[in-house]
């Protein structure tokens, strides 16, 4: 019903497109989340949008437009009126890996958006089945050198975070495991726990409970610092693989051409949300990493997008991965 009301509001609003940015926002703002409700990106979006709504004085309504690894929703957002009433929650996949995976991508992550700011990063962990013969990253790398042929790596489908980060990991360590695809992280984890597949890389929010419960083992976390949720898991740097630094970041974008005053207003609201103790706690509870003050500006987000596209494109193309 909310959606219907919004659609109505949007139609009426068109008549007053000229409305000044000063008064923004005079009606609810739609935030497109390019994934199904309940996923990690959706959760971050809802937590952040909840606080941002209070700052801008209008409700930010989440609209889940899932499909094609998130590119369907982002493509729709990129084509929306740049009036600040449609914004979107992009992430590492849609604004980093997508150009390599989708040759017919309908948007350019670096050119078609007005970046608002980074919302939260989710660390990536290297995890393996409980019965895996190695107990730390070094042992794992040694094992891969001699038994690489026999090993199966699980991932949650081409274009998913676990797929992209897994390919990056394999290219760094020079491993060529047999890749086994699942539809989503849940089934992949299930088979990892059942010792059917050997290892995978995935976001902390998905794997942390199973690590704490002793159902799978964790070799390393790909962040500069250890996570408070898993204090016993070493960083990749400590474990001897400093090159593997990766995070599934989520960031807010507006379509290109959104007035700078509106971008500033939204960025202020986002920064305020990230400074709020309660919002911060909710994100940290999920294992998220709160961006530092310098990382929160639109400019640094633009740089992040450019560097991510430059980083993922060669790795994914070398692996021959595509999801046309």
């Amino acid at each position: 019903m909310k959606k219907l009301a919004l659609a109505l509001a949007a139609t009426l609003g068109l008549a007053a497109t000229g409305a000044q940015a000063q008064n923004y926002p005079t009606r609810p703002v739609t935030m497109i989340v390019p994934f199904a409700a309940g996923g990690p990106t959706d959760v971050v979006a809802r937590i952040v949008a909840d606080h941002m709504s209070r700052t801008i004085g209008q409700q930010i309504v989440i609209e889940n437009v899932a499909g094609a690894g998130g590119t369907t929703g982002i493509a729709r957002g990129a084509q929306a009126q740049p009036d600040g009433y449609t914004i979107m929650m992009g992430h590492m996949g849609t604004h980093g890996a997508a150009p390599a995976l989708y040759p017919n991508l309908k948007y350019d992550p670096a050119k078609d958006f007005a970046p608002i700011g980074l919302a939260a990063g989710t660390p990536i962990l290297i995890v393996a089945k409980k019965d895996f013969p190695a107990n730390d990253l070094k042992g794992f790398l040694d094992y891969m050198k001699t038994n690489g042929e026999k090993v199966n790596m699980a991932h949650a489908g081409v274009g998913s975070v676990s797929h992209s980060t897994g390919i990056l990991f394999n290219s760094i360590i020079g491993a060529k495991p047999t890749m086994v695809a699942y539809r989503g992280t849940g089934p992949a984890l299930n088979d990892l726990m059942a010792n059917t597949v050997d290892y995978m890389t995935d976001q902390i929010v998905n794997v942390a409970p199973q690590i704490q419960g002793g159902n799978i083992k964790a070799f390393a976390i790909a962040t500069p610092e250890r996570s408070p949720a898993l204090p016993n898991v070493p960083t990749t740097k400590e474990a001897g693989l400093p090159d593997y630094q990766v995070s599934a970041w989520n960031a807010v974008f507006a379509p290109k051409g959104t007035p700078p005053e509106i971008v500033k207003k939204l960025n202020d609201a986002l920064v305020k949300a990230l400074d709020d103790e309660n919002t911060k706690k909710r994100l940290l509870d999920l294992g998220g990493v709160i961006p530092s003050a310098q990382e929160r500006t639109p400019e640094s987000l633009q740089k992040l997008v450019e560097s991510e596209v430059a980083r993922w494109t060669p790795v994914l193309q070398a692996a021959g991965a595509k999801a046309e």
Binding site: K3, A194, N215
Partner: protein, 500 residues
């Protein structure tokens, strides 16, 4: 046992607080009302209503969400029975005989037995979860790709038995369903298959779109085509609730359905989908006169509905004990839990015992609420059938469009129900049954993915399906079922079970 009782006491202590009772009631009511919208199954309902739980504490929010889930599930059955539009895979079977009952003026009885069977199944399944949840978790881990493949093969054999008409046509329809399920991005390679370069086909065809078109829209077309068949409206309504005879016919199917549904529900990887189909197949095989099936047999509603609800309930086991969502609805529940600051996993049981046991107790409370809400509403739903059809069908069409659009916000989905509706109409005209096709569609994807996964892991060796005992057992059952199904055809040249 002492533990079990004290845990349940703790649970009911949480679930029976006035606030949580109210939330369970509200969840069931809202879930039922939204779930009744054609095409809007539990997934869409929960996704839509998720935000309204944000202001609540986690336990209350989850109790309400679980209520929405049962409500939507039940609401979907109501739509299947009244207007022949199954909102999701599990209510396809309910539509078969349920809608025929409605056409014969027995809509109230069908709805009543569905509600009562569901309540019974829900009660049993809740006890199963409370008593055996943790040990049963291991079952979920026994099932690897090879086992799933074999389970799906068995499921396809059910689809053959499901058919009413010619067995050849049924098999053809199953294969079409399997073929349709392969549209979209290939999971392993990321290549597009049969999308004709069309963007909206990249993620495949949505079940709700297919089911709504093939069943719902096609039904409307057929009704408009020959008015004299549209007996729904003119039939007297008859009794609103099942009587003694109905119960006598139904209690065994309910018991069997509950058992089948509960077992299959525990399996992750959407095992619960098979529950209603398996139950229907079993009832049809056991019935003294199988020809009544598909023409309004009450067993064909009682069994599958119980299986459906038992499965819906026990599919919480992998989520609650492992934190692993076995299907899309449960994935949504995971999201709901994380939004409320609870990361589901093996620790929830020890770390948040009040939440864990409170939720289990509230499952039973939710089922009771459903009964309380739905029995009085039957009268209202049935009266709806009295609305003249020329007023009714535009409304159904409109709700179909709203429902389908609200799921993915894609205009192409709305166009597709029109296309599938036309296809469904042609199929009916040529005497093809849509139900086996839908089952083929649901199982096809799971079957293909698990086949390829199993073969990748075994490095291409087919023996993996026979080496693994559970997989071998399932394949053997499938073979026996198939032989039993085909035997009469071979022996008499004419099949009593399948031909009318």
């Amino acid at each position: 046992m002492g533990d079990f009782l004290s845990n349940l006491t703790l649970g009911f202590g949480v679930a029976l607080t006035p606030l949580n009772l109210g939330l369970a009631f509200l969840g069931c009511l809202v879930g039922t009302l939204i779930g009744v919208l054609p095409g809007v199954g539990p997934i869409a309902t929960i996704a839509m209503l998720l935000p309204i739980t944000f202001g609540l504490d986690p336990t209350g929010a989850l109790i309400m969400l679980a209520g929405i889930y049962y409500g939507a599930q039940y609401g979907g059955s109501t739509t299947a029975i009244l207007v022949n539009i199954p909102g999701e895979a599990t209510s396809v079977v309910t539509a078969l005989d349920g809608h025929q009952m409605a056409r014969q003026g027995r809509a109230g009885v069908a709805l009543g037995i569905a509600a009562i069977g569901s309540f019974f199944a829900g009660t049993v399944a809740t006890l199963v979860i409370a008593a055996l949840g943790a040990p049963l978790t291991r079952l979920a881990l026994i099932f690897g790709p090879a086992e799933y493949f074999s389970l799906m093969v068995m499921g396809l054999v059910f689809a053959v038995v499901l058919a009413r008409g010619s067995i050849l046509k049924a098999i053809a329809m199953i294969l079409v369903g399997v073929l349709l399920s392969t549209v979209g991005t290939d999971l392993e390679t990321g290549e597009e298959r049969m999308t004709f370069g069309l963007q909206f086909l990249v993620d495949g065809i949505d079940f709700a779109v297919l089911a709504m078109g093939i069943f719902g829209i096609a039904e409307i077309l057929r009704n408009l085509d020959h008015t004299e068949h549209r007996d729904v409206v003119r039939q007297s309504i008859g009794r609103l609730l099942p009587n003694r005879d109905d119960f006598k016919q139904s209690y065994k199917p309910v018991l069997r359905g509950t058992f089948i549904g509960a077992v299959l529900g525990i399996l992750p990887g959407n095992g619960a989908v098979l529950g209603p189909f398996a139950s229907y197949t079993l009832e049809k095989k056991l019935a003294r006169d199988p020809r009544r099936f598909g023409r309004g047999a009450i067993e064909g509603v009682a069994g599958p509905e119980s299986a459906n609800n038992a499965g819906a309930q026990t599919s919480f086991i992998p989520l609650l004990t492992l934190g692993i969502p076995p299907n899309a609805v449960m994935a949504l529940m995971v999201g709901a839990m994380t939004i409320h600051g609870i990361v589901p996993g093996p620790q929830v049981m020890t770390r948040n015992p009040d939440l864990f046991w409170g939720m289990i107790a509230s499952m039973w409370v939710g089922n009771l609420m459903l009964l309380v809400i739905n029995l009085p509403m039957i009268g209202m739903w049935v009266r709806l059938l009295k609305v003249p059809y020329h007023l009714m069908f535009p409304a159904i069409l409109m709700f179909c469009c709203i429902g389908i659009y609200s799921i993915n916000s894609l205009p192409t989905d709305v166009m597709f129900i029109g296309l599938f509706g036309f296809v469904g109409y042609m199929l009916i005209k040529f005497g093809f049954e849509p139900a086996p096709m839908l089952l083929g569609f649901v199982l096809g994807k799971l079957m293909e993915e698990n086949l390829r996964r199993a073969l990748i892991i075994s490095r291409g060796s087919m023996e993996t399906f026979i080496d693994r005992p559970v997989s071998a057992g399932l394949l053997a059952v499938a073979l026996i079922l198939l032989v039993l199904a085909l035997l009469p055809t071979v022996r008499k040249g004419r099949d009593e079970v399948f031909t009318e």
